[in-house]
Structure formats: structure tokens, C-alpha cells
Amino acid sequence: MPKLKRDLTMEEQLARGPVDMPFLMLVVLLTGIGVIMVFSASYATAFYSKSSGYNPTYYFVRQALFAVAGLAVMYITSKINYQSLRWMSVFVLGISIILLVLVLPFGYGRTTVGAQRWIAIPLVGSFQPSEIAKLGVILYFSARLSKRNTEKQRRLNPRSYLSGVAGLLDRIGLLELVPYVVILGIIAFLMMKEPHMSGTILIMAGAAAVLFAAGIKLYWFIGGAAGLCGLLVLMMSGYQSKRILVWKDPWAYPKDGGYQIIQSLYAIGSGGLLGLGLGKSRQKFLYLPEPENDFIFAIVCEELGLVGAAVVLILFALLIIRGYWIAIHARDRFGALLVVGITTLLAVQVFLNIAVVTNLLPTTGISLPFFSYGGTALMIQLLEMGIVLSVSRQIPAPKQG
């Protein structure tokens, strides 16, 4: 027998509030378009490939099933009172770090793409621990930072001769950053072992967004950005420099490295204003490698033209803006930070994917949320959207009058 409304606590009442309809609609719309595009982009690959049994609907059926399951997961998640995520966050983070360790000896991917990124789960499929790490970091950071101001100040014995130094460190805000830096350091270290550059970037971006919104002093971000730039310059001098050369002129390396981006540009360019029509991409016929994956947006551009691509971009932009809107209106700081983290993660992923596909940035493997083929990734994506919806439920209704 369900409880009556009057029997509920205030918190419980709030958790039963309506989800944010615009956000939900945008998620469903993008998921739907994404699944259709996976079908269109993948059927040539599937038809010609032995691994998919020459079945043109191979990828589509899988992606559609995961999308349905993912939407269900999103719904369930949205029903959960996100406050319980506060205590769960520690475990999620802990599990994700364990998985990141386990993927190194037990995962796979080194032989196929040269990076140990996946862990196989019998019957379900495989997933990237980094996806869980993203969520873990955002959850934990949000939970911890939301209590930043109410936390009891730890005071060292003023007579200790360390107190002077510690006091200084505390005043400039370094001391409170230590746990975050340590966690990010461990995760980044583990992920660079795979190696997984793009995943690391995304986790860093998500974490940075949460830290930024939580009010960490700006100069730490300036310093962090400067440090990252230095690191990037250092990397460019190494094996990554080839990427930069390919990025500058893909046609100079048509065989080694430039092929995929050349094919992507052909696809996008062929699309023109209105595109070749849904399903009529020619580049997906074994020209563009893995068209259903990271470069699916190129096929969107080829088939739907600039108009179609712009519509998808606008949908993403609206989703992101709505996400931040939810964050601003969230009931508490934890919810706000959580949604900021998830929304920023999504935004950065969208930006980087499309920037790579259009050769605005050097190639790196970042998938397009809701579009790129990958069942577990889509489910985790929708789970995150569920969390945002859960937060949106507890937005207090505007006062009457």
C-alpha cells in the first residue's frame, strides 16, 4: 500500500516531484536520432564484415536494445533520491579505481587498438572502467565539495612549528585541494597506463568543472591550465607530434594516420547544405573506418547536410543549457555540482568529438554521446542523465503569488 502524500517526509515529497520535461525530451530525442544514425552508418560495415555475420542490422539491433534498456535505467535512476548518492559516491569511486587496476591485467584492447581499455562481462558485453571512473569522480567530488563550507575546520596545534606553513597553505586553498589532486593523480596514472588519453582529458574536464563551480580559487585553474599546457608541449615533442603533423595536413599522410580524417572530411564535405539523404552516405561503404563509432557525426553531416548537422548541434546545445539550468535551480549544492559535472562532461565530449571529426583538433578517440555505437557507454550515459533528472525532481516549485 503506497504511502499517502501527507505521510511523506519533506525530502520524500520533493523526490516525487516532476522530472524536467525539456531535458527528458531532449535526451529521448537525441537517443532516438542516435540509434537511427547508428543503423544508417553501420549497415554497410555490418554487411561486409564477418564479425557481424554479414548482417546489416547487427549493430542497429544491439544499439536499439541497449537504448531501450538505457532509457529504463534512466527512468529508475531518476526515481532514486539523489541524496543517497552522497554515501554511494565513495564506493563508486573506489570500485572504479579497482576496475582501472583490474583492466590492466584482465581487460582487452591492446591487440586491436593498442590500448587496454575494456573489460568483458559475460553475456552483457564489455565496458570501459573509465566510464565508471568519470561518474565516480564527479559523484565523489560533488559530495565532498558540497560540504566544503560547513565542514569543521581542522585546526592544528598552534604551537606546532608546522602550523605556520600549514596555515599559509590552508589560506591559499592548497590544503583542501590535496585529496582531489591525489584522486585525480591516481586515476590519471592508471588511465595513462592503458593508455587512454581522451578518457583522461574527459575526467579531468569533469572534475575541473565541479571544482570550478564549487568555488575553488581561480588561480588554481589558471595554474592547472598552465601546467597542462606545459605537459601538452612536452608530449608534442614525443610520439604525439605525428598527430599534430597529420592534423595540419592529413593529405600528406594518406596511408599512415591521415586516412580516417581525410575520409571524414570527404563525407562531411560531400553532404553540402542538405546532404545526400538519410541512408545514402557513400563514405560509409568501407571508406570511412568504423563509421558507426567515433566518426558517426561525419555520416550525419554527409546524409543530412549542414542543416541536419546544425539541428543535432542545436539539440546538444539546448540539452547542455538545460543541464546547467537544472544545476542552477537545484535544491542543494550537491545536486548543483553533480549536474554541473555531468553536463560539462557531456558538453566537453560533444565538443571534442565534433572538433576531431571536422579536423578542428588532432585526432583522439572520443565518442559522441547518444550517437556512437557502444551499448554500455550509452547505458552509462543514460544513467547519468537519470541522475540529472533525479536532481530536477527536487527543484522547489516557485512560490505562488
Binding site: T150, F212, C301, A309, L313, I321, N359
Partner: protein, 795 residues
């Protein structure tokens, strides 16, 4: 206190909330709006600004463009005889990769057969050795080379032999079917150009260079390339990244359009006559640099024939067949000091020489043939007339230089016709002077002697450039006097042969300068006329009346003048001889410009031999005893040529008193009627016996004997039936020859020159001395005037 405490705890909280709000709004601006701007700009750039570029690049890789070759048009002569045709032949191609697969499947078949206990394949195993030895034998290739190619099993494309003839391709096809090698050896259809008459009109037709996409090289093949080639068709098929067919079919077919056919104004028969006479002259006169012969319809400018020597076989353009060139090459090859490089250089030079159409690419000093135009100009301007007299002392001193006439002792007093007939330089210097430099230069221009004729022939030289002819300013200026003098007899300026014959045509055709042309019609593959060329008159140079006077005077050149060796009994031929200086020691170009019939020219020819070899340096005679001059060499050949051409054109011979007549049948008639009949036929009568009716006649009816000859009628007396021996008359004068022949009851049928002076001797008799022939047979004897003039110009 409590209030204060609350304040202290709430204040930082509100501040923190405010920070979150501001910073989230900032993130919203960045990630919700700003980040999308560069993405959209970049997309716009790729999809709109650079759309065409990327689309083209994409289509290039997505489509397979295979060509469908068009049939090259046929080249016909004016009578519809094909001179150049295309036929389908095959390239023999090898795919070592496919051969390896075929061999693999053969082995599998054998294994399967062994396992199942059945009989294996009933054809031999396609080993590399088996394939190589068979193909080498069929195609005449090196077996080791084929083996080497077969070893390249990664290759899909090895061309074994280009354009094999049908017998060979049939043999290869049979070999393929018998041994099931369809997957491995391929016959790819392509076209090959055939020239049924080999070297006929080689420089005019040109050939197709397979090393250059089968495009025309030289001649009509080159300048009408676009018309002949047609349009290659295309089949565009979509392919996927693996290079195989797309899932959905996409095919675009652009039909090949066959090339258009050309009909030339060239008449293959006349062309053959020209080439034959050229070859004959080159051999007879020991000509070192070849020559040319052009035949043209003077009334339209249509080229009837255009022959060059040396020449080559169009079916094997790289080969050298000309005897003079071959001898030169052989000499280089046998020279122990010559390197391989030197030989290749010589070969290249020789090939170039045989390909070039020297009658249009090269210029030469026209010499006395040009006097025809000087004559026409002077008559038109009225500065001379037939009654004028010219005195020739043998030389003229002009601006300190002595210009000699061809006859050192001088021609003495001559009227205009004799001066032209003698080709007298002092007389022409005088005519040129009367004309004046300005007028002279006007006529140079009007006769088309400066600049191109505009004929549709490859590589026409432009003599208005490169100092080949004076400019007006110089010619009419104070230093132009000597130029005017030399120009008057055709020296010291250069024209192309086609310029000369075109200008000369205007002299004799009523004064019309026509634009010469070679292609009369262009028709498409279905036979529809695409272009028909009408004769184009460039301008009227002289009046019809002047032209007629010129024809009469130029006929006199052949009838007793320097051109008398060109005379052909029964045809009225006009012309002008020429011996051109080249500036080189012992290097003369002898030429003859001729036209016929003289009263109504149907054909004009220009025949020239470049550099007959003197017997010794400085000699005027060749080792064969020929005097080196246009009149003694080119004219005699031109006469023979014109006779052939006129006969082919169906121009009737007209007979004068001495012309041949056909003896009528008078047997059984009375003496009176027989005598009348024979008299009417321009024959005289001698009777033997005293019967009333004619019982026999010598020569028999139907025989052709010179007019005025005597026919012997036997009146009841038996006609002698024994044969007589032909005496040797070669070297004899006409009179002596006639006497020698008549003394044994034979008739003289003289050909060649008819000016039977003491210099005219029998060159050749048609029936060899000592042969037994019937009484009354007419023996054809060719006479030649072999009198040589002194050294000099323009003869």
C-alpha cells in the same frame, strides 16, 4: 549572540551559493553557446565553402571510371578509297596473381579427384613453364621474360604484347580456352590503325602514335585529331572502399562517339603516279636529298597528290625503308668508330627526315619557275608585250656584280616568248626593272609569295618571318636594286613549294589565287556530311586575258623552250623549268612546274628533285650523264607524269599532223576508196602489185603509227609475212633513227621532245635492238634534248 552566530554561518553559505550560480552560468555560456560557434563555423566551411572540392575528391575515390574507346574515323581519297582505317585488335595481358590462383585451384581439383578416386582434370597443369613456352611461341616473345613476369605473383597486370594481329590473338584465345586459363590471361580489345597503301601519301596522312594515347602524329591524323578521334565513352560505376561493387548499383554510361571520316582531295592513283615518278627520278638522277611532287587542281586549289621523298611505311613509321636513308644508316652502323648513341642519333634524324613533309615545312629558292609570275605581273601591268625584244649578251652587270645567264655566250636577240622559253635571266632582269620594285612587291604579295597559304596541312612554314623574303621597305629602297634583279629570276628569297604552285596556278587559271586544301568533306560515322569544303578564292591577281597570254607563252616553254623534254604527244602542256641555287656548292634543286591542257588547265604539277649528285665536284653532269638542270631532269619526268595523270583524268589526246593515227581496215576495197580513206586518216599510200582490190596492208588495221606515214597496200600480190629485226637506234638523232627503222619496214613512233635538232637524241627504244617483230610495227622511241647550257642561274 545567537542571531550573530546564525549570521556568521549563513553568510559564507550564501556566498558559496552565489559562487556556484555565477560559475555555472559562466560554464553554461562557454559550453552551451561559445563552444558551438567554432564547430558550426568549421562545418560551414567544409560543407558549404569547400563543398565542391571535397565532393569531387570523394567522387573520385568512390567511382570507377572505365573508358569505352571510340572508333577512329576513316580517311578516304577523293574517289572513296580508304587510306587509313581502324580495326579491333587485342592486347595480351597477364595477371600473375590470377595465374597463381588458377594453378592453386588446379591442384585442389587434382587433390579432390585423388580423394574421391575420380579422374582429374583432362587438361595439362598450367605451370609457369607451360604457359611461358606456349605464349612465347604464339606471340614470338622471350620465354625467359614471360617466366620472370609470371614470378611476380603480386602483380595483377603485366602487358605481354600490344596490339597483336588477329591470327595471333585467335591462337592465344584458343590456348586460353583449351587450358582453362580464362582466369589469368586476358585479351583486351583495343584499336589499331591500318594504312592499306603503306607508304602512299605518308606525309599527308600521317600516323597514329600509340606511345601518345593513340593520338595522331603528323599529317591529317594530327591536324584533324579531334574530328578523327571521336569522343571516348565512359562507364562510371560506384565502388566501395574495397574496390568492389556498391551494395546499391550506380552506373552512368556515356556513349562513345565514333570519330568522323575525312575525305581528301587526294586521288590515290595520281598520288601513286607522283610517288612513282619521284622514286624513279631519285634513282635515275642520283638525287641525294629526295624531292617532292605536288599535283593540284588549278581551278579550285584542291590538292590531287602530294608526294615526298624520302618516304616510309605508315604501318611501320619507326622503320626506315627508303634506300637512300637505309644506306646512310647502314654506313653509320658499320662505322667501327660510331657508338651506339651515334647510331640512335642518326636513326632519330633519319626518322624525322622521312616523317617531315618537306613540301610545306621547308622553303627553297624557287628559281626560274617563279618567272611565270613575273611574266604575268609584267603582262598585267602592260610593261611588256609579246612584241617586245630583249637582248642577252650572256651576263648583266648590276651594282658591281656580274650576273650570268645560263647560256654564257648569250641568247642574243629574243622576243618575249623566246626569252621565257630560254629562261633568259638578263631578259627577266629587264622585265623586273620595267615593273619596278613597288609593283613587283605588290605582286609578290598578291601571288601569295609572302606568308602562309592557309592550307589544312601540318607545319606550314611562314616565309614572312626569319628573313626568308625581303620586307617591302628594303626591297623598294636604295639597296633593293640587286634584290629586284635576283627576284626577277626567282633567287635570293625562299618560299614553300605549296606557295609556289598556288601562285603559279593563279597565273594560268584566269588569275584567281585559290586557297589550297586537302580535306574536302568531313562526314560522321553514319555518313552525314558535317563539313563540306568549297574552293575559296583569296583574290583575283591578274585578268583572265593576261592569264590566257601567259598560258600561251608557257606552252611555248614546253614546245621548243627549256621545257621541251616535258612534251607529250597529243597533250598541250605548258610549264616552266627551274634550277634553284641553295647557296651550297654542288647542291641544286631541279624542278618543273607544269600544267595541262594548256588551253584549259585541269592539273598543275610541281616536281622537284633536291640535290642530284654531280659526277665529280663542280661537274654539271651526274655520273649517269644527265645534265643537272630542271629542263633536263625534272621536265622529262614531269612529261611522263602529266601523261599518266591526264590519261587517268580522262583528258582526250588531240592529234596534230604528226600525231599517231590508227590505221583503218581497207582490205577488199578498191584502190581509189582505200586511198581516200587512208588520206583522210593522214596517211600516205604505196602500192605493190596491180590488182583492183586491196588484198593486204602493212601495217594491219588497228595499228597505231605516226601521222603522215606510208601504208603499203598489196594489190593481189602476196604480202610478206616474215619478221624483221629491230635495229639499234639509241643515241641516234630522230632523222637517223627514222631512216634506220624505215629501211627494214618499221615505223618510228617518237615520244618526248619534238624539237629534233642535232642535240636531240634517242634516249630509249621501247623494243630492244635485235628483237624480231612484224613488218610495219611502230617502234616507240623516246627522245631527249640533252643540250646543256653554261653555268648560271635559273635555267
Amino acid at each position: 549572540m545567537a542571531h550573530g552566530k546564525k549570521k556568521t554561518t549563513q553568510h559564507p553559505d550564501r556566498r558559496a551559493n552565489r559562487t556556484i550560480l555565477v560559475r555555472t552560468l559562466f560554464l553554461m555560456g562557454i559550453f552551451g553557446v561559445v563552444a558551438f560557434v567554432p564547430l558550426f563555423v568549421k562545418l560551414y566551411q567544409i560543407q558549404i565553402t569547400e563543398h565542391d572540392k571535397y565532393e569531387q575528391m570523394a567522387i573520385d575515390q568512390q567511382t570507377r571510371d572505365s573508358t569505352v574507346s571510340a572508333n577512329r574515323g576513316t580517311i578516304y581519297d577523293s574517289k572513296g578509297t580508304p587510306l587509313a582505317i581502324s580495326a579491333t585488335v587485342y592486347n595480351v595481358q597477364l595477371s600473375p596473381k590470377d595465374v597463381a590462383e588458377t594453378q592453386e585451384s588446379y591442384r585442389k581439383k587434382v587433390e579432390q579427384a585423388e580423394e574421391s578416386g575420380k579422374k582429374g582434370p583432362d587438361y595439362p597443369e598450367p605451370t609457369n613453364e607451360f604457359i611461358a613456352s606456349n605464349l612465347a611461341e604464339i606471340l614470338g616473345l622471350d620465354e625467359a621474360d614471360i617466366l620472370k613476369r609470371l614470378a611476380k605473383t603480386g602483380s595483377q597486370y603485366e602487358m605481354l604484347k600490344w596490339r597483336v594481329e588477329q591470327t595471333e590473338s585467335d591462337a592465344v584465345r584458343e590456348f586460353i580456352t583449351e587450358n582453362n586459363l580464362q582466369h589469368g590471361i586476358y585479351l583486351m580489345p583495343t584499336t589499331k590503325r591500318y594504312y592499306p597503301y603503306n607508304s602512299l601519301a605518308a606525309q599527308v596522312i600521317g600516323w597514329v602514335n600509340y606511345n601518345n594515347d593513340g593520338k595522331g602524329a603528323y599529317g591529317m591524323e594530327a591536324i584533324y585529331e579531334e574530328d578523327l578521334a571521336g569522343e571516348t565513352g565512359r562507364v562510371v560505376t560506384a565502388k566501395n572502399g574495397a574496390g568492389t561493387e556498391m551494395l546499391y548499383r550506380f552506373e552512368d554510361y556515356y556513349d562513345a562517339t565514333d570519330g568522323n571520316n575525312l575525305t581528301l582531295t587526294i586521288d590515290a592513283t595520281i598520288q601513286y603516279f607522283c610517288e612513282r615518278i619521284l622514286e624513279k627520278g631519285v634513282e635515275t638522277f642520283e638525287v641525294q636529298n629526295g624531292g617532292f611532287a605536288i599535283a593540284m587542281d588549278p581551278n579550285t586549289g584542291a590538292i590531287l597528290a602530294w608526294a615526298n621523298s624520302p618516304t616510309y611505311d605508315l604501318n611501320d613509321p619507326w622503320g626506315v625503308t627508303d634506300p637512300v636513308l637505309s644506306a646512310y644508316l647502314e654506313a653509320v652502323e658499320n662505322d667501327p668508330n660510331a657508338t651506339e648513341e651515334a647510331y640512335l642519333e642518326a636513326l632519330g634524324k633519319v626518322q624525322n627526315q622521312q616523317w617531315r613533309n618537306k613540301a610545306i615545312v621547308d622553303t627553297y629558292e624557287p628559281g626560274s619557275t617563279f618567272k611565270s609570275m613575273v611574266l604575268a605581273a609584267a603582262l598585267e601591268e602592260g610593261v611588256v608585250s609579246e612584241s617586245d625584244h630583249f637582248y642577252c649578251s650572256g651576263s648583266v652587270t648590276l651594282a658591281g656584280h656580274t650576273i650570268r645567264c645560263s647560256k654564257r655566250e648569250g641568247h642574243g636577240d629574243q622576243n618575249l616568248a623566246t626569252a621565257v622559253g630560254n629562261s633568259c635571266n638578263p631578259a627577266f632582269i629587264a622585265i623586273g626593272k620595267k615593273l619596278g620594285a613597288e609593283k613587283f612587291y605588290d605582286y609578290l604579295e598578291d601571288f601569295g609569295m609572302i606568308g602562309k597559304t592557309g592550307i589544312d596541312m601540318q607545319g606550314e612554314a611562314d616565309n614572312s618571318k626569319g628573313g626568308l623574303v625581303w620586307d617591302r621597305e628594303y626591297f623598294t629602297g636604295i639597296y633593293g636594286e640587286a634584290s629586284l634583279a635576283t627576284a626577277s629570276f626567282g633567287q635570293r628569297f625562299k618560299v614553300t613549294p605549296i606557295q609556289l604552285i598556288t601562285g603559279a596556278s593563279a597565273v594560268i587559271n584566269g588569275g584567281h589565287l585559290m586557297q589550297p586544301y586537302v580535306v574536302s568533306d568531313i562526314t560522321d560515322a553514319e555518313g552525314n556530311t558535317i563539313k563540306h569544303v568549297e574552293p575559296t578564292e583569296v583574290r583575283q591577281v591578274i585578268s583572265e586575258a593576261t592569264s590566257e597570254r601567259c598560258r600561251t607563252i608557257l606552252e611555248g616553254v614546253v614546245d621548243g623552250g627549256t621545257g621541251k623534254n616535258a612534251r607529250v604527244e597529243g597533250y598541250r602542256i605548258g610549264g616552266k623549268t627551274g634550277s634553284s641555287e641553295t647557296g651550297e656548292e654542288d647542291h641544286t634543286i631541279v624542278s618543273f612546274l607544269g600544267f595541262a591542257p594548256a588551253d584549259d588547265p585541269q592539273v598543275v604539277i610541281l616536281l622537284a628533285y633536291d640535290n642530284p649528285k654531280p659526277a665529280s665536284p663542280g661537274s654539271n653532269y651526274t655520273s649517269g650523264g644527265w645534265y643537272i638542270s630542271g629542263g633536263n631532269m625534272a621536265a622529262i619526268m614531269a612529261g611522263e607524269l602529266l601523261e599518266d595523270i591526264l590519261d587517268h583524268m580522262g583528258v582526250e589526246k588531240s592529234y596534230s599532223a604528226q600525231a599517231d593515227v590508227v590505221v583503218p581496215n581497207v582490205s577488199g576495197q578498191t584502190l581509189a576508196t582505200a586511198t581516200t580513206q587512208l588520206k583522210n586518216a593522214n596517211l600516205t599510200v604505196r602500192t605493190v602489185g596491180d590488182g583492183d582490190t586491196v588484198t593486204g596492208q602493212i601495217p594491219a588495221s588497228g595499228a597505231s603509227i605516226p601521222g603522215g606515214s606510208q601504208v603499203v597496200l598489196y594489190m593481189g600480190t602476196d604480202m610478206p609475212t616474215d619478221q624483221v629485226e629491230v635495229p639499234n637506234v639509241e643515241g641516234k638523232t630522230a632523222q637517223a633513227a627514222r631512216q634506220a627503222l624505215e629501211s627494214v619496214g618499221l615505223y618510228l613512233k617518237a615520244t618526248g621532245t619534238t624539237d629534233y635538232g642535232s642535240d636531240t637524241v634517242a634516249l630509249k627504244q621501247a623494243v630492244a635492238a635485235g628483237t624480231s617483230v612484224d613488218r610495219g610495227t611502230a617502234i616507240e622511241v623516246q627522245f631527249i634534248d640533252n643540250s646543256g647550257g653554261g653555268a648560271g642561274w635559273g635555267f
